[in-house]
Amino acid sequence: MPNLEKNKASRIEEISLKDLARINLEARKFKIDLAIIGGYAARAFTQERSWRFTKDIDFITTKSNLTALRGVFELLKYAYEKTDFGVKGSKRIDKESVELHISVDKVIDWSTGLEYALPKDVFSKSTEMEIKPFSEENKKMEVNSKVAPIEDALIMKLMTERTRDHFDAIAMILDSFERLDKWRFWANCTNSRLEQHTKKRLLSFLADIKKGLTRKIWKEFTGREFIREQEVTLKRRINELLEE
């Protein structure tokens, strides 16, 4: 059988994971408040089956940390630029690029225009978690990075109108519900005036289960069937969250 060399996609993943580890290290060294959100956070909180996201990495930070963060980007050879939502770091690898999107002080959602103001304790409550590699070739890599608390990561996923984010939210509820501090979740929703929106979203998830749409969403993003057992667990946990 052919001895295949590492394919391009796994090389890009290897570089971005190594950079992620280095960013985490430098952020710790220089006491920069920085935590992962988005697809990579969903990856940390869910099982391997459900990772249909792009290669870009999303972070949160505060304005006061931007100068130090720029230094870290330059050290790792990422071009630094300001964007509508915060700052962006980008690096070319062959013909592809790896992008780091950093939301500053708040996270703005594209699809709804809603904003999530970062709570004061978001960085102190962020924890170092293992970021599992996606490609088979990188399976042995061990990368840890600071990930935003599940409460914040979940609110951000529930905030959008994108089905992909709703799928991530469902997977997080199924795989990491025991980590969720329900009181903190609702308090943070209230602080960003997202309480009603989040309630409606969770209620719509219940309606989706009833209509069979959750099965469809699950299949679309995992290629696998959503079984009855998962359906019952999801329903129970959403109700628990709504009762809090």
Binding site: L4, A9, F53, E220
Partner: protein
Amino acid sequence: MRKEMPEWLKKHYNRLWARYRHQEFTFKDATKGLGVSRAMTIKTLWELEQRGFVNKERSEVDYRARVYRLISPEDISFATGLYSLVEKERLEKQSLTEKLAFIDDRLPYMLTGSYAAYRYHRYLNPTKVFEIKTKPQDEGKWIAFLTDARTRVFIGEIIETRKISNYAKLLHSAVPIDSARTKTEEGYYIEKLEFLFMGLLKRQTQTSIMEATAIIVQNKDRLKWNGKDGVINLARDLGLSRRLGFLLDAINYEAHVPVVNHDIIRRIEKDVKGKSDEVFPGDAIFQSRFRDLRNKLAHEALLTRDEMKEFKKMKERFEGYRALSEKWGFEVVLPREIIQKILEDLGAKFGKK
């Protein structure tokens, strides 16, 4: 992964084969057929399943309910023959794509679905499911060959909650496999760009639309537009010209520059006649959300002013392509941010790409 069977397992396999051959059977049937204890039946079926010598399918309604179908002795011989060509320690390290490269032309196949799409767009990570188009008569051989410690093979729906590295799903191809595949530099076959792209348009789920968009942005100069197996002809033959034309127009519109040459779109336009009842995309989730909004807005008296404003805004989100919808003669319920985000992520806005 061992393929050889110990004597006791061979004996049990032969007994089951003599009784059921290609027929489906349940756990209860197997216990009865083998005339052994429940524990021994569990062990037998487990050992056969691990080797890929039995196909197991679970019920969608009751996860515990399973039906089995044996792989024929000929198909088992085919797989064990292939395995005997490889050193055991190398075989254990083989990834699924390496196994596909190894099979080469021994069996016709092509990798399709999210893995193949990812090779072309490098945008959205694939699922853990490898979709492989094969010939129906080769299913047994594929199950016996691909099943190993990290891979399970499915013919029907994938109903499995156990942690497995790879799920392989066998599909049938509507076109001759040889004409629709191409070899990758790693040595395995994937579906040709143009055929795969058509498959994504046909599927018309939210992710398949995203993947189709990313494929156009990343491969616009590589896609074969004209000729017998070109995108324009394939779309016409499959009745997908309307969707194709709309998608290309929407990409150009959102990019603010022609990502795709206008001449190509004009040629597609010639293949589209009149209006259609079709609602695009046929994604059940989008359509359900849109229907709900329309129903809610149909009962204005029951809504507060704020609700009305909110629902109207949400409905408008789905109807962002009114002019293009009119041009292509079908109803489009695709939120604009879906295409906008891909163009932004891939740097294709304002002609950056």
